[in-house]
């Protein structure tokens, strides 16, 4: 059994009366692509900040690659790269200067070969000499990713890296992060785009009010919590609703069930009741439904 990339044990953090983390336990294995989800204020950023040493937990233990983030902070931080949520930059320096400086903070001099590779893979080579102030938002976001990678950390945390980012950049960024994961880097991702988490993450944890309310593989979560659905557009909505359907904002009616084998029976009941079927669509289980279900249930 290999050592986990991240180990979080009984971690609590309070800000006055506000509980940000209420005893979180979590292990993330090396090489995982892990999703950390939850509504605003759930404690995701606090947990990431505690891993990064930016927040000091009131109690509990956090380890990166077996190194305690408090007592062995040097090794823990050398093993971790964090892409922060906010688009922050130092306006005094060019992209290359920033990356050299960031390498130096990690004790690495003469890091230009790796810096060139990261710049090329993030399509930033042509901007290496440009001052940060002159870059677009998307490019600044890529520089943040590059800064998190200058010391080639085995564990990379991305805190909502695609918030406000256009589709093209988002796709490019995910391709790059997938490559890093294939190379062996452990990726921890928080995002508000649940489709992203569903597509990318092998395992997902959901936080609510500082507590872990779900921790499982993405497939298991979809199987356990999400239902299949049939969406119908009918002439007589009231008839479909009387048969147990749920009205949607777009005027369609939705029926939930556990298996697609029940579709035929629902359609037969609609036909017999004279609902007047115009259009229909099948809904796949998705993470958004799991998320909504869990956030309302727990």
């Amino acid at each position: 059994m290999t050592m986990p990339a991240i180990r979080v044990r009984a971690v609590t953090k309070n800000y006055g009366a506000l509980t940000a983390l209420a005893g979180v336990d979590l292990e993330i294995e090396q090489g995982e692509f892990f999703g950390l989800l939850g509504p605003n204020g759930a404690g995701k950023t606090t947990l990431i900040s505690a891993l990064a040493g930016l927040v000091r937990p009131d109690s509990g233990v956090l380890e990166i690659m077996g190194h305690d983030v408090v007592s062995d902070y040097r090794e823990a931080r050398r093993n971790l790269g964090v892409v922060p949520q906010e688009l922050v930059f130092d306006p005094f320096f060019s992209v290359r200067e920033l990356l050299r400086i960031q390498s130096g903070y990690f004790g690495i001099r003469n890091n230009d070969d790796w810096i060139d590779e990261v710049l090329a893979r993030l399509d930033l080579s042509h901007k290496a000499g440009a001052n940060m102030r002159t870059l677009s938002g998307g490019m600044k976001r890529r520089v943040l990713v590059a800064q998190a990678l200058v010391h080639r950390p085995p564990v990379i945390v991305l805190d909502e890296p695609t918030a406000g980012v256009d589709v093209e950049l988002r796709q490019g960024l995910w391709q790059f992060v997938r490559e890093l994961n294939r190379d062996g880097h452990t990726i921890v991702l928080t995002t508000h785009y649940l489709e992203e988490a569903e597509t990318l993450c092998g395992r997902i944890a959901m936080l609510k009010a500082g507590k872990l309310v779900a921790l499982d593989t993405t497939d298991n979560l979809l199987r356990r919590f999400a239902t299949h659905s049939l969406r119908v557009n009918v002439e007589h909505t009231e008839v479909a609703l009387a048969l147990g359907g749920r009205a949607n904002d777009d005027g369609w009616v939705e029926f939930d069930f556990d298996s697609y084998t029940e579709v035929e029976a629902v359609l037969a009941r609609l036909r017999e009741a004279g609902a007047g079927l115009r259009e229909m669509a099948l809904g796949e289980p998705d993470l958004e439904r799991v998320f909504v279900e869990l956030m309302h249930r727990v």
């Binding site: 090489g31 971790l80 964090v82 990690f106 001099r109």
Partner: protein
């Protein structure tokens, strides 16, 4: 996301071990932060070095024009000669404070302080880099003031070692003070209050422009409670071999101030005060 292919992470058995890059030398982090802080003020050199030198030059021209023929100090020292070390030290102190305080508050407000907090830099390295960079800026500006005064004043330095010691100690004190202010202040307004209501009055009333012997006894006594007076007076002793207070007393007070402020700053950084919540 338009793409439907689901990514599967590798099984644990298939995972390649990634090792972080090895650090080259234990002091590389400190040296990099020091280098970055020095680069930062050089990149805006007109503002951080040129402007304070010009300011001091204007003080020198105006005060020497008005007072040089009327005032001598320590018996036979012309007023302009007396004034120059005061202006040099004032530049050292104010610019050392400005460097560390402005760098930190800018980093905090823009959020880029995170790039210094995420790496494995110790709080001692953090302190040493910010304070040393602040001292270097103070010394650069002070040297600039001394150089531009040369066409106007023939100056000699009686004890260069005293000059250097007081310049370094003054820079260290004000660099530490700047770290405290930069970490404590949440907005530029609070930092400006620190600068305008504390640093500026204490500097102006420290004997930069006069010998405290010219003051009424009460104000002479009050001056002894101002640590800036000892920094200026000790520094001036290095130039003339004469001063208002004993240079050893000045050295003692300045050393004690430096030790206390360094200890306070290090304690704040070790706790992560306002940096790590």
């Amino acid at each position: 996301m338009s793409e439907t292919q689901v990514h599967r992470p590798p099984s644990t058995a298939a995972v390649r071990r990634i090792q972080p890059m090895a650090a080259d030398a234990p002091l590389t982090g400190f040296r990099t932060l020091l280098h970055k802080e020095v680069l930062r003020f050089f990149k805006v050199g007109f503002q951080t070095v040129g402007a304070p030198v010009l300011n001091a030059l204007l003080f020198l021209l105006i005060f020497s024009h008005v007072l040089d023929r009327h005032v001598t100090v320590y018996g036979d020292v012309a007023y302009t000669r007396f004034l120059v070390p005061g202006l040099v030290m004032m530049a050292v102190l104010q610019n050392a404070f400005a460097n560390s305080s402005s760098s930190l508050i800018q980093s905090k407000i823009t959020g880029n302080i995170i790039f210094v907090l995420l790496p494995p830099l110790s709080y001692r390295a953090f302190y040493a880099a910010y304070v040393l960079a602040a001292t270097l800026r103070g010394l650069f500006v002070g040297t600039g003031v001394l150089l531009v005064s040369m066409p106007f004043v023939e100056q000699s330095i009686a004890n260069p070692l005293w000059v250097l010691v007081f310049a370094l100690m003054g820079g260290g004190i004000m660099g530490s003070f700047g770290v405290i202010a930069g970490i404590w202040a949440d907005k530029f307004d609070q930092l400006a209050a620190f600068q305008n209501f504390l640093i500026m009055p204490l500097t102006m009333l420290s004997g930069v422009f006069y010998s405290i012997r010219s003051l009424p006894q009460l104000w002479q006594d009050v001056s002894y409670f101002n640590p800036f007076f000892f920094m200026i007076d000790g520094f001036r002793y290095g130039f003339f071999g004469q001063s208002d207070a004993s240079p050893w007393l000045s050295l003692g007070v300045v050393s004690a101030c430096f030790v206390c402020l360094a200890a306070l700053t290090l304690a704040m950084l070790a706790r992560g005060y306002k940096l790590r919540s």
